[in-house]
């Protein structure tokens, strides 16, 4: 199941002299419903447009659909442990794609296992985040990505 929602308009008018940034579009992948709800809210509060997917296959299907329209997301955030294709395998697929490889991929996990972290970073993950996610973690992440 995929769903998209946005809490603010993509066309925000900025009255300062500062360059107004467009909303980041983030794809959040997690098989756990509560975690999906949480990450979605965290990202929306950080002014992102969010699409969620309940597994890696659905995530890839969504990314393909966007690709067909010459679109892509600005960030993928995925859980590591998922049944079927893991977040690590999803990361590799994204990095293998010539169209998607520049999209930053963040891996989340409840377990902070150094070999796991290193494996993900070595395969091109932008960041490894420990669950449960907090608002400050996500705000920091969005600042880095923007």
């Amino acid at each position: 199941m995929i769903n998209s929602g946005s809490c603010s308009s993509l066309m925000e008018v900025d009255y300062d002299d500062d360059h107004s940034h467009e909303e980041l579009h983030v794809l959040a992948v997690d098989d756990n419903l509560i975690d999906r709800k949480l990450v979605e809210k965290l990202l929306k509060i950080s002014s992102c447009k969010v699409t969620t997917a309940e597994n890696a296959i659905r995530a890839l299907e969504y990314l393909d659909a966007l690709t067909n329209n010459d679109l892509k997301v600005n960030l993928i955030i995925t859980d590591y442990c998922m049944p079927g294709m893991t977040g690590f395998e999803l990361l590799k697929k994204v990095k293998e794609s010539s169209y998607l490889k520049e999209v930053p991929v963040v891996i989340m996990s409840s377990e902070n296992i150094p070999t796991r972290v290193n494996k993900c970073l070595a395969s091109g993950a932008q960041m490894f985040m420990q669950k449960p996610l907090k608002l400050s973690d996500v705000e920091k992440l969005i600042n880095v990505i923007s």
């Binding site: 509560i34 949480l38 965290l42 509060i45 409840s110 449960p132 608002l135």
Partner: protein, 171 residues
């Protein structure tokens, strides 16, 4: 009227603090509260309701997997414990999460008896927490009912029903 509000808010705070002190909730619950805002005034109760629904479903599934001693699907049980540990951790349900840690250990060594004990404990802790949070939302609803309170609004959260005697009832 303002003193009444202040008193109710104080009761609400004290109650939450006691839940932290007794280990029912940990810091992640306060992280959850930070996410509640004007655009989603029922965020916490919604997530918490989802959590309890999820709990009940997982407990049910694991119970079935553990039912027959000669044919336990430990993989299934492990998967359920993993989900439950994740969710409880994400909402700040500390006692539930801690039972899951022991539960996982029993699963790893395929200890059916141990798993059954943990399952019972997880069921108990989640029901206990549900009751505690029900009371909490009860107090907060009363505090917000005052029309002079800027946060007063009609709530129609799916799983929490307001009944005519003035309390919240979980479906």
């Amino acid at each position: 009227m303002n003193t009444v509000i202040a008193q109710l808010q104080r009761r609400f705070q004290d109650y939450i603090v006691s839940l932290y002190q007794q280990g029912f909730l940990d810091n992640q619950f306060s992280e959850l509260r930070k996410l509640q805002d004007a655009s989603s005034p029922d965020f916490v109760s919604e997530v918490v309701s989802l959590f309890f629904d999820d709990c009940a479903k997982l407990i049910n599934n694991m119970s079935r997997s553990l039912e027959r001693p000669e044919n336990v699907d430990f993989k299934q049980v492990d998967s359920g414990v993993h989900q439950l540990k994740g969710s409880s951790s994400s909402v700040g349900a500390m006692r539930v999460k801690n039972v899951c840690i022991s539960f996982k250990e029993c699963c790893d060594v395929q200890n059916r008896e141990g798993c059954l004990r943990c399952l019972q404990q997880v069921d108990y802790e989640s029901k206990m927490l549900k009751t505690k949070l029900q009371d909490l939302f009860n107090v907060s609803f009363k505090a917000l009912q005052n029309p002079t309170c800027s946060a007063a609004r009609a709530t129609n959260t799916p799983s929490w029903r307001y009944n005519s005697s003035g309390g919240y009832k979980l479906d």
